[in-house]
Symmetry: C2
Subunit: 228 residues, 2 copies
């Protein structure tokens, strides 16, 4: 019915490895990409610099950062300074889980998409994360899409909002391979939950461990700079 050529998409960009890959996928599919990041009171604020670097390097049309202070509700090691980031694997849902974060981020992406007359939203969730984060599974994405089309004026019209999660079923190694084939410079990205202000990584948190393992399994050079 329609081609993605010259269509607008809102792409959630965190500055990390997954969302950089998603942006490359969306661009490769012909979308004009409007990238969206959040200054939500996170510890790893150097990801905001990374979001901008990545957005520019991958040719976004506009990059915006929305300020939303999730420290007000707290409840996560990422938004509450009183809770430490774990440096080894833990049981159950990690304390780095930010309650309803993807729901909040997708909601704001939906609002911006409606303003832009865009109907496509891209997010870098994948099933590896689902082991701990419920808002990374296919059923969640699908339920969000249904809700989005009832929530908006645009969704009421002929064209429906679509939430794309192209990494959903990929391993970290496959993601790194895909991004590399699309020209992503992972040296621009920051994944660490407690990165230094220069964007150097701890190498110990969950996010660092998954990233490191991904490059190793893919047989690719890990460009990350570690401080620990």
């Amino acid at each position: 019915m329609h081609t993605s050529e010259n269509r607008k998409a809102v792409v959630l960009v965190s500055g990390g490895l997954d969302s950089a890959t998603v942006l490359a996928v969306a661009r490769d599919a012909g979308y004009q990409c409007y990238t969206l990041s959040f200054d939500y009171g996170q510890r790893h604020r150097s990801e905001l610099d990374a979001s901008q670097r990545v957005s520019r390097a991958l040719g976004c049309v506009v990059h915006k950062t929305v300020v939303i202070d999730l420290r007000t509700i707290g409840g996560s090691a990422l938004t509450d300074e009183g809770i430490a980031v774990p440096e080894k694997e833990t049981e159950g849902v990690p304390i780095t889980y930010v309650p309803a974060r993807n729901t909040v981020f997708l909601s704001i992406a939906l609002g911006w998409a409606e303003v832009l007359h865009a109907t496509d939203i891209f997010i870098g969730v994948n099933a590896v994360d689902y082991s701990g984060y419920p808002d990374c599974r296919p059923a969640f994405i699908s339920a969000f899409e249904t809700m989005a089309n009832l929530a908006t004026v645009a969704g009421d019209g002929g064209e429906k909002f679509r939430v794309h999660a192209p990494l959903m079923n990929m391993s970290k190694a496959e993601i790194v391979q895909l991004g590399t084939s699309l020209g992503v410079d992972y040296g621009l990205t920051v994944s660490c939950y407690q990165a230094s202000s220069e964007g150097q990584a701890c190498g110990l948190c969950d996010s660092c461990r998954l990233r490191r393992q991904g490059f190793a399994e893919a047989g690719l050079l890990d460009p990350t700079k570690y401080y620990k």
Copy 2:
């Protein structure tokens, strides 16, 4: 199975007439109310003072205001200074519609509810507004509820999140009558889209017109102070 006695609920409070009534309904049902407001860059910032006054007067446990700058995405007369608030009735969806606003607000309420171990969320949407705002209809509330239970760790457990919209099918006159019977002091509330910093109302915008008409139809004294 469970009683609302001593259960926690997150109640969205805007400082206006509807949400004050919802807070009174939730308290009357025995909930411990945690009220949530948003400093989202709105024109009518005196509603933030009203939110606090209303929350206190109706005995909330905690009142929080989350900062989220929706001016970054714009697209509404309420969040974009370049778009004027209409002073007479317009065709179609009003320009005061803020794209995805209720989705964003409910998402943050969901996050806080999860932090508080609360499963009940109250919102003051009603079908009168649905004529213009898609995120005020029953199908939207129901789809949000489904999504919320897939989005969260808490929703995955035995207890499910519920989104209560007790005003859904009420007229403005019925809402005013209900609130009055529950002891709401509507003199504390601000509904106007372009209220003065002292909380005085224009009397001309959609929100003022609906409110004025509600008091008139209910045969109750309108305590609103108008500046125009």
